[in-house]
Symmetry: C2
C-alpha cells in the first residue's frame, strides 16, 4: 500500500459562467464539485496506475463528509481523521468570454492537539503495512511548519520511504528530515534558494541543479524539480538527470505536478532505476496536463508519451 497523506483536502467547486458580471448576480451554466487538494490528485493518479492506495488526512464538517463520499465513489480508499473544523472549499469562477478565472481558496480548518494526536496514531498504524508514503500539499493554517518533517521522521523510523511535495518552510524542514524524494517546482525551489533560477521564462538548469543538490545535501535522498515545458531535472544518488517531454506541456500545471509526484512514488515502490522512473513521471505529467481535471489522465496519452520522453544522464557537476 502507498499511503497518501492529505492534511488539508478540499472540495473544489467550479462555476462556468457565460459572461461574468463581477458586480451582480450570475447564473452558472455548469457546476462541478470534486475532491481536491494535491494529495488527492496524487492518490487518484496512483489508483489509476493500479497501485494500492490509502489516503490519510484530516476532514471535518459537511464539506469533509462530501470529500470522503466523493473519494469513495471514485474508488479511492480513505481513512480520514475526523476534526471539529470544517474542511475547506476552493471556488473557481470561469468566465466564458475569455477563459479567465477567479479563484477563491479557503484556508482550511483549525486542528487541535487532540485531533493531531489522533491522526498520528492512525498514521503510525498505517505505516506498518506501507511500501511508501506521499506527503503532498498545503498544511491547515495552524499546523506548524515542521509537520511534514515529523511525519517523515516517523516513516523513516518505520522503514517507510517518503515522497514530499510541499513549499516554503514545510519543504525546507521536510527535506532535512530525510525523505527519499522531494519534488519542488521551479518557484518553490527559487523561494527556498532565495534567488532566481530562471531568466527570460526559462529555467537555468545548471542553477536548478545547484539548488537541488543543496536541498539533497540538506537530507533528501533525491530532488526532482519540475520545470514546466522543460520537464524534470533530478539530482539523485545515481547522478543527475534531465527528462524532457516531447512537446511543450500545455494545460493543467497543478495536475501535471501531482501526476509527476504519483509517477515518482510508483517508480520508487516498484524499485525502478531513475531513467525509468523519470520517463514514466514525465509521460504521466504530460498526460495529466492535457486532462481537463487534476488527478485524471488518458491512458492513451500516457502510453504515447512514454516513447517520446527523452531522459539524459547529465555530466557530473
Amino acid at each position: 500500500v502507498i499511503l497518501v497523506v492529505c492534511l488539508n483536502p478540499a472540495l473544489d467547486i467550479t462555476h462556468d459562467v457565460p459572461a461574468v458580471d463581477w458586480t451582480g448576480v450570475n447564473r452558472p451554466s455548469a457546476v462541478h464539485a470534486r475532491p481536491g487538494g494535491k494529495g488527492l490528485n496524487v492518490a487518484r493518479t496512483l489508483r489509476a496506475l493500479g497501485a494500492d492506495v490509502l489516503v490519510l488526512g484530516l476532514a471535518g464538517g459537511i464539506t469533509g463528509a462530501g470529500v470522503a463520499a466523493a473519494l469513495s465513489e471514485a474508488g479511492v480508499p480513505a481513512a480520514f481523521t475526523a476534526i471539529r473544523g470544517e474542511t475547506r472549499r476552493t471556488f473557481t469562477v470561469v468566465d466564458g468570454r475569455g477563459g479567465g478565472a477567479a479563484l477563491f481558496n479557503e484556508a482550511g480548518p483549525a486542528v487541535d492537539e487532540d485531533e493531531w494526536a489522533q491522526f498520528r496514531v492512525q498514521y503510525e498504524k498505517a505505516l506498518a503495512g506501507s511500501a511508501a508514503v506521499v506527503l503532498s500539499g498545503s498544511l491547515p493554517p495552524e499546523l506548524p511548519d515542521g509537520t511534514y518533517a515529523e511525519l517523515i521522521e516517523r516513516a523513516a523510523a518505520a522503514g517507510v520511504p517518503a515522497v514530499l511535495d510541499a513549499h516554503g518552510a514545510a519543504l525546507g524542514l521536510g527535506a532535512a528530515a530525510g525523505p527519499a524524494i522531494v519534488k519542488p517546482n521551479l518557484a518553490e525551489l527559487e523561494a527556498l534558494a532565495g534567488q532566481a533560477l530562471s531568466a527570460a521564462g526559462r529555467a537555468d538548469e545548471a542553477a536548478v541543479a545547484g539548488a537541488a543538490a543543496a536541498l539533497r545535501a540538506a537530507g533528501a535522498g533525491a530532488v526532482v524539480a519540475t520545470l514546466g515545458a522543460q520537464g524534470l531535472l533530478a539530482v539523485t544518488g545515481d547522478g543527475d538527470w534531465a527528462a524532457r517531454p516531447p512537446a511543450a506541456l500545455a494545460g493543467n500545471a497543478t495536475g501535471a505536478g501531482d501526476a509527476v509526484t504519483a509517477g515518482l512514488a510508483f517508480g520508487l515502490v516498484a524499485g525502478w532505476p531513475w531513467e525509468r522512473r523519470l520517463r514514466h513521471a514525465v509521460a504521466l505529467g504530460t498526460a495529466a496536463a492535457a486532462a481537463p481535471v487534476a488527478g485524471e489522465f488518458s491512458d492513451a496519452d500516457y502510453a504515447r508519451g512514454l516513447d517520446r520522453v527523452t531522459v539524459t544522464r547529465l555530466a557530473a557537476r
Copy 2:
C-alpha cells in the same frame, strides 16, 4: 404547526475578500456558510417568534445534508424529502474595498416524478395537523410553474390557509388557486401586471393597489405588496391598508421580505385583524433589514419598530 415549504433550499456561502483580484487567486479573510433560500428565512423568523414550525422540501446530496444539519443546529425542525440531485449552493464574494459583491447562484437540482410523488405524500400528511402553510421561494428548474398552485389546492382541500411568496408564472398560477395571502414585491407585481407601477424610484400606490386588486380578484384572499421604504400596501377582504415603517428600510432587502412573509403568516394563524398583522409584519421587516443575515433580527429592533409603524386604512378605490 405552521408548515413552511422550501422546494429549492440552498447552502449560502459567503467569502469576504479584502481586495478581490477578479483574474487571479484570492484568500478570503472570512467564510460563512448558512442554510438559505427564502423559505428557510421565513421558517427561522417564525421560529424566533415562538411559532411551531415544520420545514418541508426537497434536499439532496452532501449540500442537502449540510442544509439539514445546519437547520437542525439552529433548532428549526425540518423533514426534507430526499432527492438524488444535489441541493444548490449560492456563492457570494464581498469585495472589502467598496463593499461590492458578485453572486453566483446555482439553479437547483433535477426532481423526478417519483421524488415529487414522495414529497406530495409527506406534504399531505403534514397538512393534516397544520394551522397554515407558507410557500416561498424559487422552484427547482424542472418543476412546472403550476407547482405552487397544486400545493395550494391541496392545502385548501385540507382546510389549511396558504401564504404564497413567489414570482412570475408560479405567482400568477398560485394566486389563482386561492391562497389566503399573496406577498409580491414591487418588481414581481410589475412583472405580473405587465406595466410599471412606479416612477422616479417611488411606487405609485394607486397603481399598486389596482394591480393588487386584480391579483386578489384572480383568486387570492388578500394581496400584500412590499414596497421597500414605502412599507406595505395590502388589498384585503377588510379593505385596503398602507403600513409604513418609521424610517427608510436600509440593508438586507431579501431578509426584510422574508420577515414580512413570516409576520403575515404568524398574524394569520393568530387570527389578528389586518391592522395588527401589518404592524407586526412591517416591524419585523424593518428589524430584519437591519440584521446582517437574512432570517435573523434583533428582538429590540422588532419591539421598537412596533410602536413606530403607521398603519392606515385607505379610502375605498
